[in-house]
Amino acid sequence: MQADPPILTVERISKQFGGVRAVNDVSLEVRQGEILGLIGPNGAGKTTTFNLVSGRFSLTSGEVRLFGRRITGLRPDRIAGLGIARTFQGTRIFPKLSVTGNIETALLAGSRLGFWEDWLGLARARAVRKSIGGEVARILDFVGLSEHADSEAGSLAYAHQSLLGIGLALALKPKLLLLDEPFAGMNPRETAEAARMVRRIRETGVTVLLVEHDMAAVMGVCDRIVVLDQGQKIAEGTPAEIRANQRVIEAYLGTDDDA
Amino acid sequence: MLAQQLANGLVLGSIYALSALGFTLIFGAARVVNFAYGELLMLGAFFTLTVMTYSGLPFFVALPVAMVGVALLSVVLFLLTLRPLLRGAYTSLHGELQVILVTLGLLYILREAAIIIWGTAPRQMDMGVTGIQMVGDVVMTNQRLVVIAIMAMLVVGLYWLLYRTRIGKALRAIAQNREGALAIGLNTDRVIAFVFAVSGAMACAAGSLLGTLYAVEPNMGGAPLLKAFVIVIFGGLGSVPGAIVGGLAIGLIENLAGAYISFAFKDVFTFILLIAVLLLRPAGLFGRAQ
């Protein structure tokens, strides 16, 4: 029995698309309360790994466990219910709903609001809705979108949409948050702000696994880093160790132009 | 008895295949489920009949003339109603729904136009081919053999068009990879307009042949449209070989089910088969998964 059991265990997972092994025998552990970065050159299989953990793709082989419980093969909505929330590359939100509406949708999805009590507008349902209203405000405040609460989500600036995407994930009250390229398309100032927010998320007790291209940001924000190349894990360690790792340097140099 | 049923099924299947070809071509190239397609079939039959009546030309001369007419009509309808929507249709569900709504609208208008112009009474159309052939105890009218021959000719012609001409290559490129085709500078609108023309011509041929076997009337487009749906799903939406095999298969199944199981419920069998295929193999027997 380990003293500090990992929150997420990924054991020898593989994913084959047609004849291509996008992810090959990758194992990793995410420890409670850490920020783990998953990096690698283009096509290394980072996002595929993400999709395997969050249930978007089915595994060809291997196993994923959350708190020791096997979650392989569960539908994404069940996995979300068990405490893994994710964001999407290029962010994914409900563009036609308001910012408030977006967060509200995620909170309603997770709420225990019975159909009939809600449909009839019973007192309990009204109380639940009221508490959801308060939570929306809290989350918007946390991601810094309070002043845009009533805007249509699709009309927000790109960086704000990314923040809203993170807000949506936080609304699921996850234990583990998967961030897919959270800093993509941000300028350095926005990146620094978002990185601060990732740390603040961790301070609220949420473990974070993030995939990222922006090396500087990853080095700054992560406690540990796992490096993938061509579907396989080639290194694991603290940012300092990774920076000094010869194989990592080679992998990145080899695909210099698309980094 | 069985041989006769198979032969009948083959004839029916040929017409079905022909009906489905034009429909599946449009889906393959433009991702349009064309609900007005059955009406093009019907208009094709009326065009052929009208040319025959007013010029006294025989069926086999009038048919190509009418095919050109329906091809033009098909292109005009595409340019007027569908082209403005297509860009949205590839990217959003909403766009896809809009395209279907428009073709449903066309279905209403074309059918009513035919009723207003030609009235509802069924009319005869004579191919001018008589006589029968007997092989063993299978009886086949020459007219039905001509139907099979025309279907075979059109299929060969279509394959030539798809695989031996530049526009055919462009068409296949678009069907396989739209973004790629746009990127290398193909004029997709032009190619899609061309597909609508070809599809209209095929519809005209199928409709005219149906007209000679049964009757020409404004309501004749409904059944072939439904058959085309079944066939393309059976064979894979957008797949040309799928439409041919699917057409023949449905023709055979319908005849056999009608003869040996229940005539009244023969259409029910094809629809149930369709649903089974869709659920087990959503991309159809010849289709590629999306």
């Binding site: 999407f88 939100i93 036609k96 709903l97 999805a109 449909w119 | 207003i116």
Partner: protein, 325 residues
């Protein structure tokens, strides 16, 4: 303001049959039934995001089940109706579970196939459905709670109550958690799944609610027309519902009702022969889709916007703007 409008409308609708002749009452009842059917289609279009060409089959199943129970087994309307509704909702759930995983054109085509199967079964199951000739002489619902429905006027009120209750219930629904889940799934299935919404379940629920409302329309249709025949439930019946929902405005509750009013009364006022009606439906469908995708309600919004802007500007300019828009 809105409450006042609703109150006035309700008063007008209640007073209408007392001021109008039999034919006008008949026409108004027809409109109400179409409005219920259009509402059911509008729900599937707007909240499940699918074109359902099988909607007419749901109407047919419910209408026939109720009529057969009454005519062949002597069951009271008020007992047969819930049975018929339960039947249609179960069938919708089953069909939905099988078909809703299909995307775009595949769903549309398979539901069309379902509608055709239903129609063919009705047309060929002579012993039970009386085949293509249909069920004749369907009586008005039996009296209940001291109310009888054997006059045109009383049947009108029954239809009015059903529509009003539907509107109210659906209005609550789209504001409920379920309503929001439906919207989320319609907007983005993938994202919905990842924020914990069971996508299939919600789509099936949406389809079942649509089928329930369609069934209510079907229950009224039999006694209203006094005859049910398979020819009433072709593809065109579903398309008529679609046209009404689209012309009125998809994604709203008032839209389909407006659409039904529009499509019953416009041909009536223009005294079209029955020939031109389908052509008009077709033309409307195309024009609305191409030019005003938000339907009559969208046009009303545009007009309101123009008016609001027009008041602040010199007259001539607002006139030009109006023409340009």
């Amino acid at each position: 303001m809105r409450e006042l409008a609703i109150a006035v409308l309700a008063a007008v609708m209640i007073a209408a049959p007392f001021m109008l002749g039999d034919y006008q009452t008949y026409l108004l009842t027809l409109t109400l039934i179409w409005a219920i059917l259009a509402l059911s289609m509008g729900l599937v279009l707007g909240f499940v995001g699918q074109i359902n060409l099988g909607q007419a089959a749901f109407v047919a199943i419910c209408a026939y089940t109720c009529a057969i129970l009454r005519q062949r087994y002597g069951v009271d309307f008020w007992l047969a109706a819930p049975v018929a509704l339960a039947a249609v909702v179960s069938i919708a759930a089953l069909v939905g579970l099988l078909t809703l995983r299909l995307k775009g054109p595949f769903f549309i085509l398979v539901m069309l196939a379902f509608a055709e199967i239903t129609r063919l079964v009705i047309a060929n199951w002579q012993d039970v459905t009386n085949g293509p000739l249909g069920l004749k002489g369907i009586m008005p619902p039996e009296p209940i709670l001291g109310l009888s429905f054997d006059t045109k006027r009383s049947f009108y009120f029954l239809a009015l109550v059903v529509l009003a209750v539907c509107l109210l219930a659906l209005w609550r629904l789209i504001r409920s958690r379920t309503g929001r889940m439906l919207v989320a799934v319609r907007e983005d299935e993938l994202l919905s799944e990842f924020i914990g919404i069971p996508v299939m379940r919600n789509k099936v629920i949406g389809l079942c609610i649509g089928a329930f409302v369609a069934g209510l329309g079907g229950l009224l249709l039999g006694p209203f027309l006094t005859i049910l025949a398979p020819s009433q439930f072709t593809l065109f019946a579903s398309v008529d519902m679609i046209v009404m929902a689209v012309v009125g405005g998809v994604g709203t509750l008032v839209g389909p009702v407006l659409g039904a009013i529009f499509l019953v009364y416009v041909p009536e006022f223009l005294s079209f022969t029955s020939h031109y009606r389908p052509a008009m439906m077709g033309a409307l469908l195309i024009i609305v889709t191409l030019v005003a995708p938000r339907g009559l309600l969208g046009l009303a919004d545009v007009a309101r916007g123009l008016l609001a802007r027009g008041f602040g500007k010199p007259r001539r300019e607002s006139g030009e703007r109006g023409r340009a828009g």
